[in-house]
Amino acid sequence: MIRIFHIPDFRSLRVIWLLEELGEPYEVERVEYPLDEAFRARGGIGSIPGIVDGDIVMGESIAILQYLTGRRLQRSLELGLTVGPNPDPAAYAEHLQFLHLGEASLMTPAAMLAATRRMAPEAEWGNYTAMRCQRTFVNRVAVVEKQLADGRAHLTGEAFTIADISVGYALHYVRRRELDALIPPLASAYLDRLSARPAFQRALQA
């Protein structure tokens, strides 16, 4: 059974959400933040999330989504949860774009902004770096807003995919940290739709 190292609301939520969408059994091992030496000494993972699946040990939430859907759980392909390079390279490119954007372009600035508010003295909350992160997030989430402008249900069309898990988690993270005002209206409604999914609701309880 796939074992996941988890902290509630951390990026491990992405992995659990996917496994809930697939109805795949899994085992959660809760860890505490900040990560202690025992966790770091496990090797091969780095930070949360990590999984152990037989002799495979890996980290990085988006990499885990790709491993699970692209190889480990073949029914992901039948369910359309991932998009391959064939037959349509343009659809594949769009899928990859949003899959990566959810972490690299949205979570990177959001996490730094949230960390400043959580850990820095209050006088630093509006400092140059924090405001720069906020501008970057706003600029990048505008790409999501534009993508949703034609009324589509999900980022790459009608089908729900791991790109929605990637971006949806980043939006959820921002909303949970009381930065909801940074999310534009279509993206906000999209997050409402994703949050209502039974698999997401179950994942929140893990």
Binding site: G46, E60, N127, Y128, T129
Partner: protein, 203 residues
Amino acid sequence: MTITVFGKPPTRALRVIWMLEELGLAYETRSVDFRNARRDEEFMAANPAALIPAMVDGDVTMSESTAILEYLGARYGPTPLAVKPDAPNYPKYLQFLHFGEASLCGPLNVVVASRFMAPDDQKANWGATAAAEMCIRRSVLARTQLEQAPYMAGEEFTAADISVGYGLHVLGFLGLGERLDPALRDYLAKLQERPAFQRASAV
């Protein structure tokens, strides 16, 4: 049709150009003045969000550098640079492909911006300092991998090395190279000696 890359080294366009050089594909580059990007009509037409780098390949436009590495490997492969899903080292490959950006390079954005653009009293503020330390701390995972194999995904050079190598290259560019473990510095030097890297960084 020739692939067009908007942006040049030392931005993340270097990852894309390095990959194109490793693959031996024809491409052209367009520099973008990022302070005035929104007034650059050709760039904005290709990429309305004004993100750098951007790549245009026929009807495909992308702007996330590590996503572009995956796309190029699949579209113009098969190539040893892109590990296949059924290969034993696929999980490692994926992990380090993402690690290079999500864990290593991402936090450096604010370090670069604060160092080069912030007012003097903000150049080493809380966030800029914390981000650089986070990046150094996280580089240990790549160091651990080098105890197992010469490259991130195992015995062979892959796009995961382009992803991680670029992150280490930026740390060096920021003058933080000496904070890296010697094994990582040697690994970076080995990557920088590759002819494709040299051609890409000279663009």
